[in-house]
Each structure stands twice: as structure tokens, then as C-alpha cells.
Amino acid sequence: MNLLLLLIVPLITALTILLCRNSLQVKWTAFAGSVVQLVLALVLLFVYRAEVVAGNAAQLFFEQDITLIESLNMHFHIGVDGISISMLLLTAMVVVAGVLFSWNTNKMTKEFYFLLILLALGAYGFFISFNLLVLFFFLEISIIPKYLLIGIWGSGNKEYSANKLVLMLMMGSALIMVGILGMYYIGGHDVDLMHLSNISIPAHLQKILFPLFFIGFGVFTAFFPFHTWVPDGHSSAPTAGSMFLAGISMKLGGYGCLRVAIFLLPEGAKEYGQVIVILSSIAILYGAFVTMMQKDLKYLNAYSSVSHVGFSLLALGMLTQTAITGALMQMISHGLMTALFFAVIGMIYDRTHTRMVNELGGLMKVMPFITTVLFIVGLCSLGLPGLSGFVAEMTVFVGSWQNDDVFHRVATIAAAMSIVVTAVYILRAVGQVAMGPLKNEAYAHLTDAKWNEKLAAIILLAGILSIGLVPGWLNDLLTPGAEIIMNRITGK
């Protein structure tokens, strides 16, 4: 399968959107483009599995290498492994859902969908590129769309949030850029990921480069203490914007931490592993406790994101194969579940025009579909068995427990304690919103979800359930990649 299709389809979609005459055409074009992309991602998954079953044990599949700049040795090197495919699937699902949930947008529709698709394009390119410059290029492409999406279509203190988000993410990019420059000279004028993984980078340089990459990508994925853009950014963004930020953008960072920082610099990872564990444990607990205090549903979900993403970073710091698989599962599970959570919040806000927990109540009576979805994501968030959150968190804890020293055990236990706190805030908020008598007379006339919202919710729910009920396929997908990374760490 030609991976360039994954870039060409969104590009054509974006350009077609610019040519559309009215907002209905724009919406259908965006929808069609994102569905094609989802189909492509699914086809990729099946083709990949067929290859694996046929006994193809290559590290990368469907590789392509196009020379961009000969004199600087820059190549457009793309390929996929199981990890990338799972990320691509996640992205494609969130994009379809995001497009559907924004169906009611009527302010500058053309620009809105153009930027959404551009943001998605950056993510697709990021997950398939195996050259640091190309990877970085795609990472940065999303900066402009994020700024404008929050700034123009956002709510609340949107100028401040957009500025804060973009500048913090740019700061992360700046560190990554310096890291890439360092790699360029260490790797003999070549920043190909596969090439760099084959040369031995001196330990003292790894200790300099690792923090640059890990913090750089960490800013994107709310690595404590660089998480402060998350609550503001998420709560000010429009619904689709929050979904993309939580479901896609934060995953770029986590994937980068693993694929670039840990994979290329295993010595550095061992050196700083404990720091990562400490900071992520703080993030998990701190995030959970701060969430308890939130009154605004969007802030609640944003802070719980900090806590949930902390699990995947904690697992990365644990440096065992199970933990790394768990980290990736947590990223995917969190992507689906948070995107859906934001979507539900968006639906509720569209109808009631408030996001305050204490102003809502009894919505189960008027919008059963929406509140049911809210229940499911809530339970997924607190790790109910049968849903993706449980599978991911369990894998993370099992992987973490494999480190049998006191330090790692304490960190694992501390992180696990946060689940209790999560249960408190999730049950309280969901119960308040859904149960009890109707808080407001006006709510009695509200309508339930429309076709587009139902369809989008079902797509995301399908993802959550398929991971929760039959986690084997995801595990099979992630394990080979995690094993290769683990071999780098143990030095095999």
C-alpha cells in the first residue's frame, strides 16, 4: 500500500474545501475526505496484519524514501509499524468524529474545516515519517491551525489561551529543533531515524540530547510541569478543537517521546528514567486532585487529561516492555475517550448553554443518548473493566510492577491511588449532570443527539469497546514495536 495516499487524501480534501461554494458542500467534502481517510487507515491495518501473518518480520512496512535535499542528506522517508498504524487509526477516528460534531458551525465554515483538515494532515504525516526533519515539519504544521481554531472559534478567554498554547508548544518545538541539529552532526549529516538507531551515540551526548527531546515532545503531551497550556487551551477551544487537541495533538508528543527520545537515546532514558517517574507521579496525583475542584465540565476533563496522560508518561519512565505497550494503549484509549468526553460536553453546552456542573441536572430524562454516552466515557475514564481505560491502565500497572525496587513500587502505588480520586470526581460530575430532577425548566424542551452526533459517538464508542472487550488485536499491533524499543534499552 502506498503510504503517500495518507497525505494526498487530506491535501486534496483541504484544497477542495477551498473551492466549495457553500457551507453544506464544505461539510460534506470534509466528511467524505475524512471517511476515505478512515477507510484507508483500516485497509492499512488489515494489509499490515496480512503481511505479518504471512511471516514478514521487517521493522518497517511499506517504506518509501524520496530524496528531498541531496546536499544536506535530507530524505522524505516514510513507513509504518504497528505503533504508527494504531496512531493513524486513532487519528482517523477522531477526525471523522470531529468533522461530524462540528456540523453546526456556521461562522466561517470554509476556514474552519480547512484548518481542521490541515491539522489532521500534520498528524498523519507525523506518524508515518522516519526522518527527523520531516517529522518535525509535520509536527509544526499544526501550529497555525491550532492558533486560529482557538482564537477565532473559541470561547471564554480565547486570545490568552491561544497565545499561551502556541507559545508553549513552540518552546517545546524549539528544544526539539536544537536536538535535531545536534543529531544532524552526531549522525554524520543524516537525521534518518533508522540510520540514527544504528549508530552508537556517546553516552555523554545522550545525556544532553535526551532532555531536549523528551521535554520538547513532553510539552505537547502535558508533561508536568509543562502542562499549563492544557486546561486553558482545551477549555477555550471549540468542540472539535478540544477533541483534536486531546485526541491527536497530545498523542504527537507521547509518540515523539517514545519514538525519538527513548528509541534513539536509550542511555539518556535510563539516566533520566527516575526523574520522569517522579514528575509523572506528581502529575497523576496533582491532576486528579485539581480535577476534584473543577466546576466547569471542560476544565474538569482537561485536568483529568493531565492526570491520564501522566499514566502513559509514567509507563514510559518505567522502561519495561509491558509498560511501554501500556503507555501506547493508554495514549490511544485516552485519545478516544477524551475526544468523546469533549464531544459530549460540546453537545450538552450547545443545548443548555452552560458547562457548569452545578447548573446542570436531570438531563437523562431529556437526552438519554447523550447522557448514556457520558456515562460510558465517565466509566471508561475511571477504568471500568470492559472499556479501554481499564485495559490500558492495567497494562501500565503490570508493566510498572515489573521493576522490583522500592522506588518504582512506591511510584506505582501512588499512581494507582489516584484511581480512587478519579472515581470521586467522575461519579460526582456525571451523577450531578444526569440524575436527579431537572435543574432548569427550560431544559425540558431540549432535543437529544442528531444523526451526525450519534454517528460520531458510535464511531468513537466502537473504538473504546473494541479495545476494552478484545484488547488482543491492539496488543499484537503494539508489541513488536515495543519489543524493538525495549531491545535498544536492554542493549540486545
Partner: protein
Amino acid sequence: MNEFFLLMKSELMVTAIIFLLLFIKVGKGMQNERLLPLIQLLLLLNVIFGFFFNQEGNAFGDMFHSTPMIVFEKNILNVGVYLISMLFSDWFKKTAHLAEYFLLMLSALLGMFFMLSSANMLMFYLALELASIPVAAMANFNLTQKQSSEAAMKMILSAAFSSGILLFGISLIYGVTGTINFEELSNYTTLSPLYTMAFIFLFSAFAFKLSVVPFHFWTADVYEGAPIATTSFLSVISKAAVAFILITVLYKVFQPLQNIWYVLVLLLAFITIVIGNLFAMRQQNMKRFLAYSSIAQVGFILVGISGSNTTGISSVVYFLLVYVFSNLAAFGVVSVISEQVNKESISDYKGLYQTNPLLTWVLALSLFSLAGVPPTAGFFGKFFLLTAGGAKASYAFMIVVVLNMVISLYYYLKVVRAMFIDQNETPIAAIQISAPVKLALIICSAGILLIGLFGWIFDFIQSLN
């Protein structure tokens, strides 16, 4: 004989246009409406002709020399001047002395061409004077405005001052080495304090022309007071020319002093980026804003120059190629708005997207390109500069430089935010853009979007070395 003509074809072309304009002026004269398209056509031919019949070699007793790289640099300047003639059509049509303005501009361009081709300090000095004195007259072209005269006065005084320093440096060099020929100077390897001092004098003259901090004080006032066409000529064309020749001088002539100038360039790059950024943040007037931001850009060019390898040359040339398109597009939009509604403050731009989406997108693209955000070409330009600079600089220095890119993004975003996000009851009304301006803006936007995506452009520049 034929070879000689081809060797100097860029200079001869520009000279021919200058004479043609002179004849038209002293003869019957022409209406601006007819003269301007003629000039634009001639400059377009000049650009096209620049890419053919390239010759390599020396002339005038080794005072003048030309290489493919130098020809390419001249072509970049040609493209810039052509774009200027298109972008500021509105203003040109109104001005009373159109022919004179282009006479001056082309004379300055001729000076720059000779400067790029000079292989001798004497030639270099003459060319530099030719390239700077007409610009002072150009700065005075808003004849009724006091500010414009003030700009011209500041310009000429600072130019004269830096020329004095330059001459002093050259005389010291001659005193120490007994030669002013570039080739012979590059073989002079005996280091002495006097020679170092001579170099520093010479270098500070360059710093004046490039408005490197702490030699930048003239820049903002001149940029603000001068007509926008002049400002853009100064901040794009002049700067590019001086940066090109600075590379030759540092890399070839003062190769033996490399250890000294490396530290100097790095230090000045640091100060320039930081101060440029800090001042740009506070500006409210678009012209001043672009002036200070262009000071910061020069700092990045210095980072690239400090790399002192072939990548250093190519990356600077590449960056300036991109810079011509990005910065001229920004000045073009500012000029269109300022000509039609006479508004130049950033706060006037609030809500511009509602009324003028096309202009807004062009300005936003050019600002993102200046800030170095993908997918614009400016990203690749900055990245290559840093790649060149990273060959020798420490991690700490690179981090500081790159973090300054974030700071610069902050103030570029201020303008973007005003245009796209901020609400305004009375935004600037919809503006009718004339055809040549529109064409030039489209060329600039295409350059900003496409140059970065075609990797072979960098390869081509690299192959010229």
C-alpha cells in the same frame, strides 16, 4: 570582447535601463501611467535575462570578478527590485518624479552589483558609496513631509559615518599588508593587533549597513519616515546585498582571522536577535514593527554566517531568497493599506479579515514565514541557517537562539491576532487592489509557499559554490 560583455551583463543591463530612463526624462517625458508599465516590463526582462548567458571570470585588472554564485545573488536582487516596482504601483503613480525615483533606485542597484563583484577594497568602497547615497535621496521622496527629510538626513549622516570608519579600516589594512586586493589579502596570514583592529573597523562598517545591534539606531526612524517603497528597498535589497558581500569578505579575505571574527559574529548575532526582538515587541506602527523585526532577522543571518562552511553560504543565500519574498509581501500589504486608507498602526488592522481576506492571508503568510513556522519557506530558511551555525556553536547558544524564535513568533502573532481574532466595529473598508499589485502579491505568496517544498532549490544553490 564578447566574453567581457557577458561577464558584466547584469551591470550593463541595469546601466542600459538607467540611460533609457534618462533619455525619456530629458526628452519629452512620459505620463506616469505609461512610464510605470514600461519600467516594470524592462525590469521583468532584466530578471529573465539574468538567468541566461552566465560567465565566470575577472576583469579590470582583477578588480571585478564574477562567479555563478555572484550572478545568482544579483538575480535575487533583480527579482526583489522587480517586485518592488510592482508592489508599490499605487504610490509610484502618484509620485511627481517617477523617472528620478527609479533612476536613483537602479543606480543603487548598480552599486550593489559592483559591490558583489568587487575583488578589491577600492572597488568595494566605491560600489558601497554608489549603493548607499542614492538611497538617502530615495528616503526623501515624500517631498511634503518633514519626517521623510529627517529620515534622509539620518540616513546620509549614518552612511557617511560608516563610510568614514570603513575607509579608516581600509587604510589601516593597506598600511599593514601593502595591498588591497582580496586575493592577496586572503594569503596574508601574519596576525598583528593592528591588522585585527583594521578588521574590526571594517566589520563595524558592515554592521552599520546591516543595522546590527549596537549599530542599529538609525534604522527605525529611517524606516518609519521614508516612503514604504524606499523602506522595503532598504530593508530587503540593501540588506541582502551587504550580507552577500559580508560572506565573501569574512570567508575569503579574512579567513586567517577566523578565530577572531567567529566570536565577534556570534556575539553580535546574540545581541542583535535579543535586542531586535525586545524592541519589536513594543512597536505599534507597522513600519517600525517590520524594521525592528528585520533587525532580529539579521541576527539569524549572522548565526548562519558563523557556520563558516559552504552550507553557511548556501543557507544565507537561501534565507535571503525567501526573505525577499516574505518581507516584500509584508511591506506590500502595509503599503496598499497605507496608500488607500492611510492607516499604519497595528490596532487599525483589527478585524481586517472580515473585509479583506486576501490581503490578510498574504500578510499572515509572510509573517509566519518571517517567524519561521511551517509550511512556509521561512521555516526551511531558518532551519538551514541554524544547521550551518550549529556546526560549531554550543548547545546552549543554539537553545538561546531558537528560543528567540519563539519570542519573535509572539510579536508576529500580535498582528495575526489583530487581523483574524480581534473584534472591531469599524474595520478597514474593503480595498480595491490594482492588477500589478495583485500579481506581485501572488508571486510573493507562491514563493513563500513553494520554495520550501522544492528541495532542489537548496541543492541548486549549494551546487553554485
